[in-house]
Symmetry: C2
Subunit: 282 residues, 2 copies
């Protein structure tokens, strides 16, 4: 089951070609996106996702997205959905056709079923490896043209990193700086549990502010956890009580193995954090 | 005038949608491309472009492109072209549709007229600015997942850098490392002339090996120049006799101004180098 609706409200068939070859989203990865989880007909963190879409668009000098129009498109997709209780909802917004001075952005929402690999990661956790991202943690602020902290369609490196993980017998990646600072996963935010405190690195080091991580921290605070946004090192991760990847569709995923070393069992912490996160949507 | 032919030899209308929304080239910038100049019906450096496409594809773990099929597609495009004597020929090769385990890559060649901005850059040269790329020059070899030196569709940063140049009253960018090493332009190779020697940085520092730069060096050697592939700094550029951006479509473009400072007049060197380059195709 898939549902496709363009930003102007027009439904379309996702199994038929809908995009011109000269769309800059294709030709240059020149656009931005968001991936939203919908559960039981309710999109999770829709407003934060849309605000992040707008922030990414601003970083790429794209026309400001009309968030009310995006909300309408999401409603239209939900009305047409006849699939399972959970849905992956991709929002894509590109610079439109190349060479057309009057080009308008291409925008669409595409809903699909959850992939089996996601269900497996949620149930079993993942082995992750650390991979150098190549940037120092102080780069983002002085070099905005590098788009660090935006969510552009240009995700070839993110995908290459996941394939590198596969080659090393793992399923996920934690990007690091040369000095051992922790950045983020290719499609997730890194969260550390230690004692009764949750940690995640600040987005100012050039990483995407996590919508799921923010929801988790909100829920965890209500459940009595302390939450801290501060720089982390790989050593911090190894010495903690649990490492988790937070992303919209996989939700909270345990990292059971890091760089080939089994981490301490975090099943109890995980169960508690999942409950705190899910309570946000109860 | 535009001509579109898919890799299987099927011609198609570039003004009509041809690509599915879930193509990973669009969704993830997950594919590779080349831009070839065709002049008088003859593609320049076609074989080096195709070999570089294959190299990029290997770096992205894409199926090995069938270079004979690509050569046939280029011939089909040339047969159908009824535009001006010069043509921009884009070759695009993506991972194909998401979520389809039997997905085959999407491949097409799209021919278009030369843009007026290209003719202007060729005639007048460009003002360029240096922008930090964020990587150290020794990163490429130890971090292949960063795809440094490949030509993926994920060009959002390259395009953002060019927009940053525009904001600063310039038209082009020379990416640099924090230590002042020169990398490349967002869509061009940097070439320095000093005395009777041409210089360009080695691709081993994580930059794209230039097809136009290689042709220029070939031609220049025949015309009595020495050529050297070695690391360059911004200071080297400023102290030389001419800085040029080499790219397929803009060919050799003079940099007349760097970071707001007018460089010494390189018109005579430029004329000589253009003659040496064009002699390769006479």
């Amino acid at each position: 089951m898939r549902v496709l609706v363009f930003l102007d409200g027009t439904p379309a068939d996702p199994d038929v070609a809908q995009i011109k070859v000269d769309d800059l989203g294709l030709m240059r990865g020149d656009g931005v996106f968001e991936t939203v989880l919908v559960d039981g007909g309710k999109p999770r963190e829709l407003r934060p996702h849309l605000e992040r879409l707008a922030r990414s668009a601003a970083m790429l000098d794209l026309p400001e997205p009309d968030l009310a129009a995006w909300e309408r498109v999401v409603s239209l997709v939900l009305e047409r959905w006849a699939g399972g209780p959970e849905m992956v909802l991709k929002l894509v917004y590109t610079r439109g056709s190349d060479g057309d001075p009057a080009a308008t952005p291409t925008g669409f929402a595409l809903a699909s079923e959850i992939a089996p690999s996601v269900l497996k990661a949620r149930a079993e956790g993942v082995a992750a490896i650390t991979l150098e991202r190549g940037f120092p943690p102080d780069l983002a602020e002085r070099a905005p043209w590098l788009l660090l902290g935006a969510k552009p369609l240009s995700y070839a490196v993110n995908m290459a990193a996941v394939r590198e993980a596969g080659r090393r017998g793992a399923e996920d990646v934690i990007f690091t700086a040369a000095d051992g600072s922790v950045f983020e996963g290719p499609t997730a935010t890194v969260v550390l549990a230690k004692g009764r405190t949750l940690y995640t690195p600040p987005s100012s080091i050039g990483i995407l502010p996590g919508t799921t991580q923010a929801a988790l921290f909100r829920g965890a605070e209500k459940a009595g956890w302390a939450v801290k946004v501060e720089p982390l090192t790989v050593r911090d991760l190894v010495e903690g009580d649990g490492v988790f990847m937070a992303s919209s569709v996989r939700k909270l995923t345990r990292v059971h193995t890091l760089d080939g070393e089994r981490l301490p069992d975090s099943a109890a912490v995980y169960a508690e954090l999942v409950a705190a996160y899910e309570a946000e949507y109860a």
